[in-house]
Symmetry: none
DNA sequence: AATGAATGAGCATTCATTCAT
DNA sequence: AATGAATGAATGCTCATTCAT
């Protein structure tokens, strides 16, 4: 197992990761045998071990890859909002859109709890850190109330996860056009979030 | 496979379910072989199939069982609060306490996404329905703002899940005394929730 | 395991044998578990071992039982023919009728080759002996040619088996009315047999 | 499971089929575990599933393989006879010789009744069709009487089966030199057959 | 006489991984 | 770089049989 040394090798590795995302997402970690992944990728079974030390190694690589891509999508989304509140909503919209395209971001991550716990923690911690950073800046700028950025970050992430699972993943039938979270739901959700963050004092 | 017809049989079945909660939680669905479960339960391997049609059948039974118990714990907890806000906080505390005792409520459920998706949906839907009912009553009574009870229910559940995973499950080392969510975190979390629900108007 | 000592016990044993004929015939020796047989018989699983030492013991008992009954049916059939030729045809007709009612006489016997070879040999040898005896008497009486009764007996039995399998067993769908060998086929078959037996000289 | 793509693979598959004929014949379908077959073939247990989808799949392949070989042997045998009657006797001799070498042709086929009924029917139907064709030609040529070729074909096949079982299979002890049907028995049998087929008129 | 509970041996099948080419 | 062949450990499940009641 080693890094590809030629363009052909790099392409082969890329195809294996792409196949893995599909197969892990459709069938879960255990059902997704190395054979099925290599068949989907159109390479021989032995080829797998040129680029990955083990099935678990590939899984962890996929977790990290998904994490990188979902954060990228979210920050690009958020960049399109002109106000803080708009950026926030746009970030969530981008997350839901990514999840609709890549249900693996739910399915693989949830299974990762048992399969690759460290990789799974990294995933959530990175997203939370990113949220927390934005919240802290907003707090300092007085755009939101005096909330604890870390707790708020995890709370917001939990809301996104659960709403996404409920309104993106579950209506999603494999092969069907990916659904969007209904506008009314998204609006209600953002209203709750703004209420939570704007709170200046409380009981 | 059938229901036990004697007291001895009922006791045997109970021991298998208890063993399964431990083993599934520690090792995950795939690693938790039927042999390991029956050894933990102290019964023969074949005995398993007197009471469960398959390993999956037991898993689904466990999901439903955990769901029943966690809802029971939450409603008992909530009953101890005298005001609505106190009841809410007490419900979350009860949830976190249950999760500390039964980490399976996170681990098994997350894995259920791939293993027994229908059972897993039932779990979340039942909890959400319970939350939504309480929120609707509070809304009608004017105790909270004019929120959509269903969206709010899923949002609250997401917060509980994520905070629980971060502050109960992760610090939890198997065998070690079960941790509590730090008071400061719980307070911050409740403050966010109250802010979200009390919102009277919004952008 | 022992003989029943009461009328109730005798009835229980009878029900087990009757259930076994059905289940062995439908599912084969291996698929026919003791549990399935006792369920069909409407008795408890342990009850089986009051009357049979093992599953194999029951199977052998069933082979012998079927053998007794098929020979009984054939000799009763043959007794209805007034001439030798008529008796012969009537014997075959009775065999086919029995086989239609009791496909086990094919299915169980064929499987017995591997499961209980001694019992299976007894079955064929007894029928052959019976045929041979009749043929020898007919030969002495000059009713048939100078054939070797033993070879002829096995040949006739082979014809009956194969024609029965082809025209009784195969058209037979479980649950459907039992078929008869078409008259034209039976006539052709008897013509061949008479030709074979009447042969006085040959190349 | 797929066809071998290299010479090495083809050789491995061949060894598995050869081992299967022995083991199925000696021990029967159920006792012949995949492990026992692969041990006899000298390959790993998993290798089996490279070439066969299941134990049953191999069994059916073996039934078809035996059928092909026994028909080949019979037609080669028959080709050595110069007259029709001689060809017929030579065909039976070839069948008995094959059966002596390959008792599986009885044992496997008889068990196939329960295990793989469709494959077993194919076996008998192919042989019968072959017989019937020859008989029809002989009938048209006036070499035999006016018999129904299909009924006669099944009758002849039944004779061959039963005589073969009685005088080839049963005297056969595994490992011992393969027996031949005694000449006297074969002569008697052919005499019966000629009598049957030459019949010009009958009741 | 009858039975339901219990068991452990046995088996078909899957699969991650290694290796020779 | 690529691959198909090979493997053996692991596992879910079945089942004949025993036994306490």
């Amino acid at each position: 197992m080693s890094e590809p040394r030629t363009a052909r090798g790099a392409e082969t590795k890329r195809r294996i990761v792409a196949a893995a995302e599909e197969v892990f997402s459709e069938q879960g970690y255990q059902q997704a045998s190395v054979l099925r992944i290599t068949e989907r990728a159109g390479v021989g079974q032995g080829t797998f071990y040129l680029y990955f030390a083990s099935k678990l190694d590939l899984f962890e690589a996929l977790v990290d890859d998904l994490n990188r891509r979902v954060r990228q999508a979210m920050s690009e989304g958020a960049a399109r909002g002109s106000t803080r509140a708009e950026a926030e909503a746009a970030g969530f919209r981008a997350f839901f859109a990514f999840a609709a395209e890549h249900p693996a971001v739910f399915r693989v991550m949830r299974e990762a709890e048992q399969v690759a716990p460290a990789a799974m923690r990294r995933h959530y911690e990175r997203i939370a850190a990113s949220y927390a950073e934005g919240l802290e800046a907003a707090r300092v700028a007085g755009e939101i109330g005096d909330v604890d950025p870390e707790v708020a970050a995890w709370a917001l992430m939990g809301i996104g996860e659960m709403v996404g699972m409920r309104w993106v993943l579950w209506p999603h039938q494999d092969g069907e056009t990916a659904p969007q979270v209904p506008k009314a739901v998204l609006d209600q959700m953002m209203r709750l979030i703004h209420g939570a963050l704007d709170a200046k004092e409380d009981a």
